[in-house]
Amino acid sequence: MSKLKYALFTGCTAKQSTPELLSSTLAVAEKLGIEITILEEASCCGASHLQDFDEFLAHVLNARNICYAEKLGLTMITICNTCQLNSAMTKHALDSDPKLKARVNEKLAEVGLEYKGTSEIKHFLYTLIDEYGLDKIKDKVTVPLSHLNIAPFYGCHNIRPSELHHGSNNGENPYNPTSLDSLIDALEGHPVDYDHKNKCCGFHVELQANHTSEVLAGNALLDAIDNNADMMVTPCPLCHLKMDTYQDDVAKVMGRDVELPVLHMPQMVALALGCTEKEIGLNFHVQKAAHIIPA
């Protein structure tokens, strides 16, 4: 197999509050021999909030990001579900509506760019599974996760709306997703089956509907805990921020203790592949997680 090459859209979170996501992603890519070019020109995807304010502007900025992946002739990979959703929504809107594409390109021409629609957009989770392959990842495991019950938390924006994602997530069914479960299996961990694995974490209404946000996060964290999870894993840094940073607030709202380490998907893979502690970066978590590393 020729070397896999991707253009990485880091998103804002990996460059600020979750640096461990970026370092573990790059460490995993290096271990697996995947070549990554970071799109340093890419701006924020709008996170669905810019879309609420000005949908057209959000399309223009996302189209600009995709232009830079197109220039490299590479698939654009994301490490955030919300980046994935918003980039894919722009791609879908422009590819299916020639008038909108022309309007966006009229703006992009002002800065010397043109959106063509030639680059795919795919979350790193699915490139690992569909393009690199679980069997090959399994072969590279040096620290089997067999001591851990791991609750997969899928995050909405990789699985819904399914129509939008089916081209890039191998037809994952939002009502019974399996990708993270099979990745955990490949790393020899024990996937935890629980109802809230495909539900919302509440991150997006953290400011304006705080109670809703805490209850949704609490439902998922407690469901995982009640099903004997030692840790949770998620492909989305926004889910991670909600689930990791706010556990004491969630505990107050839910009236129960909540203590569960939450890992980013690439951190879990990095752990199993024997990457360094610095690369995995568990020190950047609010809910301490160091005890999941076998002594």
């Binding site: 924020c44 879309q51 609420d52 304010f53 800065v111 909405c156 069914n173 809703t212 609010v286």
Partner: protein
């Protein structure tokens, strides 16, 4: 696929008049490839237990009566192939009402909350109607197209009872009512658009309580995508000057401010900008936690200290914002 499959169906049973608690009962049957969930509901009633209750009427996916949940997935029983669900859920099917806490008898729920929300958005064209018009009030193709597919709603409640925000906050209007609000607000014959936009911009009630999970888009059996209409309502509130400055609207608009400065979202600044300095007391504890973990730094969010990373070619983004942005707060 053509083979019959022997399966066990687990069905939610409850009679609000006689039962203290709901329970589940198993029904064994052979399912053939063309059978719908509605056929299986019928067979539970006709072959196993005549008291098993559910709503059904048109059998053509248009009345919305037979909406239930199968393994948590919202379905119209008369549209959903049973074999496909058996494949999806590894041969174990669980039939439940759309909302267990609203169950009256088995699959039948009290939909009062759904209809109340629907009524709140004035779901009809408000206009002074001339009782003796000389001409028809015609709609152009473009006017019709602006409604998108919002008019296809059959009020089955699939999106409403799939919405997790509504489950936590009973004041939230929810996706079905917001879809209806959009449908009549864009109708050029209607005069109540501003009132609907005012209502749907209210914190705790309107569009700002949507958690963006896309459960509604996934649940709709008519493939309407209610959250698309919720985004349109958000945009219309800004376009028509209905949006008031509050934590949610500043949060949306604040993205432009950040992106213009750095290309990235400034995570600390967006919270300060949305909440205002006085509102920051709510976030002090979180800020301290995040600082201890090295997620944020003391300089973050402090005015005049800029330690933010910046994207390459930021000038392009600034120019695109200047020439593309149409809305303001």
């Amino acid at each position: 696929m053509s083979k019959k499959r022997k399966v066990t169906i687990k069905a939610f049973r409850f009679n609000a008049e006689t039962d203290y608690l709901p329970y589940y009962k198993n029904y064994e049957m052979e399912v053939s490839k063309d059978e719908l969930v509605l056929d299986l509901l019928n067979r539970i009633k006709w072959e196993h237990d005549g008291s098993f209750s559910y709503r059904r009427s048109c059998r053509h996916g248009i009345c919305g009566a037979c909406a239930i949940k199968v393994n948590g997935k919202s379905v119209l029983a008369c549209k959903e192939n049973a074999m496909e669900l058996l494949d999806l859920f590894n041969n174990e099917l669980v039939f439940e009402p759309q909302s267990k806490k609203r169950a009256m008898k088995d699959m039948i729920i009290d939909k009062k909350d759904f209809w109340d929300k629907h009524a709140e958005v004035t779901p009809y064209v408000v206009a002074d109607v001339d009782p003796h018009p000389e001409h028809e009030t015609k709609q152009s193709i473009a006017e019709f197209d602006s409604i998108l597919d919002a008019d296809l709603c059959i009020q089955c409640g699939a999106c409403h009872y799939a919405c997790p925000a509504l489950e936590v906050n009973p004041d939230y209007l929810g996706p079905a009512a917001l879809n209806a609000a959009f449908r009549f607000t864009v109708d050029t014959r209607d005069n109540a658009g501003t009132e609907r936009l005012e209502l749907t911009s209210q914190p705790g009630v309107g569009v700002w309580d949507c958690v963006k999970c896309f459960e509604c888009a996934e649940a709709c059996p008519k493939e309407i995508n209610p959250i698309e209409k919720i985004t349109k309502l958000h945009n219309m509130q800004f376009e028509q000057g209905v949006a008031r400055s509050n934590v949610a609207t500043r949060h949306a608009e604040g993205f432009v401010r950040s992106i213009r400065k750095h290309g990235f979202l400034d995570e600390a600044d967006i919270v300060v900008y949305s909440e205002g300095y006085l509102g920051m007391y709510k976030h002090l504890k979180t800020a301290v936690k995040m600082m201890k973990a090295g997620k944020i730094h003391w300089q973050d969010g402090v005015p005049f200290i800029d330690n933010m990373p910046k994207i390459k070619n930021l000038d392009e983004v600034q120019k695109l914002i200047d020439i593309s942005m149409t809305n303001k707060l």
